[in-house]
Amino acid sequence: MNVSLNEVEATAKRATRGAGYQWGLAEEAAKAVRWLCANDIDGCGALAGLIERFDGVDLAERVPLPDDTGWYGKGSVLCPLIAGAALSDCALDLADRDIRMGPVAAPCLLFPFAAHAARQLRNTVTVSWPAGAAVTDGDRISLTGPIGTRVDFITVCRGGLLGAPNRQMSRAMPEQGVWETLNRFAHRTYAPATAESRLLGAGAGLTDTD
């Protein structure tokens, strides 16, 4: 598929909402997926994998519970959208301390939130995990090592040297199956059409065909 970044954002928002997240988080997921695609990372694939994995799971189980050593969930694995939003909310705290969390599903979805923190801090931010690291200056990102669909723990800290950054893209190329998955979840937000809604919901009134 060759889709515009606005299509990515709109589809990701509906899909996340369709997966049971609140609208506010769905908006953030959408921006995050768009940012990844604009930086040549398969954000659509990451989101599709995440919402399939968490489908039917109580999201309260995926909320990070901060303690003195880091952010951990009640359930088995943290949601990167909820953790990412929380990270974004306390971006300026990274000036004073690193944030550790884990385990995290679809961890690349944290990158856009780290990028926001970088813009807030006017500094680079490094996200590191056992097999690699990513450095972002807010707009671009450089990656070393694979990240996969789950990591046991992640550290987010201020600073780091941006390496050769990923290409900036004006389009996204999600796999057909990924795009279908997102649209399948998005479809849950659409009300079934009824004869009544067809007539009244869009406000049929005076003739539209003269």
Partner: protein
Amino acid sequence: MTPDVTHIPRRPPETVMRLKRLGSLHQCRLSFMRVLTRRMSREHWRFSRPVFDIDAQGVGHAVYTATGPARSYSLVAFAHDLPPEKRSDRVIADAWDATFALFDGIPGPEDIERLSRNVPLQEAGRVDETELSLSRANRSVRLWAHVVDALASGRQPDPGQIDAVGYLMRTTAVYGSGKFGAADRETIADRPELHVPFQAEMLSVYLTRTFVRDLVQHMARAAGGNSAADLDPAIARRLGIGNSTGLGMAPFIVNHPVLFNNWIVAREEAISRVRGLTKASAEEARAFRGILSRSGRSIDRWTSEHPIQMRKLADLRRDLAAINDYVARDDMQSGRSWDRLCNWSMAALSEEGQELIASLILEPYPDLVDGLADCMADSNADAFRIDGRMPVGTVRALIAESFGWALKRDWEATENCARAWYVSEEKLEPRLGARFEEPIAEYEQPLAPARDAAAAHAGLADWQDDQPVAAFLLRHPEHRHTIRRAQMSRIAPYGEIRDNTIGKNVLPIDMLRAKLSFFGATHFDPRSDRWVRICMYAGAPYPEELTEANADLWVYPDEAK
């Protein structure tokens, strides 16, 4: 010595952002169509029609190219033979009289071939990064037939019938900004000619109007042969392009609070600047009187069969008579004449008349007003991010600033939440339903900021003023949407509608008109409480006629004609 300018503050959001007032806005110097025609004439854009390959049945395609200082843009138009039973303005339609794409540059044969397989399908097709908009139009059957028949038999069409409808075709959707595969707004927003919002879409409609004029002439010649008349350019000039707009536009202004704020602020700043002028020159006063008179002619031609708009039009005509009386009695030059006029209007006129005055006083002052158009885009992507360190007390105050009026309302009461906005699975059409009569609540879109603000405010009740809002949001992700909007209101004080968007009596046409007035639309004609027809570019010079002298005030019918 008297200073020439005094400071008049902008009208406050609690005055401006009421639905009744937003539903009474009129076009002004900052309208996107006028911004475009001014630029094209100033920069001496060139226009051509490299392809017009349409048969005697009116089927084929054409290309219209507009070339500015740095780039060309081409409307690729496809004309179809549409059976009458297929003609519908609704989003759920699947065939149209004509379909269009605005191509970024000059299309080659392979581009045309690709577009011919996709553009006629509209939402069911795909366009690419080289396309800036995708649109379609349907004929006004009665006016189309009248104009073709008249010209084919060697006569000019009846001006009365032209004015009664106003257009030969009306667009029923103009999609831009990444829709159906088109280029994202972000990829073109840095171009000076496309920086002001909706310039690509406005260019597409401007060229569409030219295509429609050419097509009707072509069909008349096909029917009448050598005896067919050429459409009188003065009559052609009166023809606009109609537009049928449904509910999809209403969510737009709620979903883009910073962008909508920027439009409103630009106009309010312009109004405040002009009101602040201590005196007006004789020339400025004369210019205003001339525009007022021409505006009256436009209002004379504005008709509607919808009871709501009929009442509003009666108000407006009464207001116009009062304005004319006022202006006849006043020198319009001394003693802060514009501020006096506005203050008088607030007490004496309906919102229709007040907003007409607010738009018209800008006309004599291009130097004070026109530059504000450059501030109407939204390039502040960071406004989206929540500042989690903000203390709860500050968030509370921000919510109360925009929604103080909503906090005490009983949001459980049927009349306050009778409606719900949703998207139908049928071609993803936006709809507004009856919450307590249809199974739609679980599909509700986040388009009730006032209700949600009241809920967030209540949710914050047990939190200390000095706690960071991040802690609250971790516990209550359901309020992220509202907290984000509350924080946006710091930079976008006009971003929130100060009315209930889900109440029993909400009129979506008020939201449609607010947006369409910024496009520069005239002659709003609601077809129900949820969709509206308008006219665009009526009176505008066609590309070959466009000069700096006629590029701006065409929206006001000429006195002499």
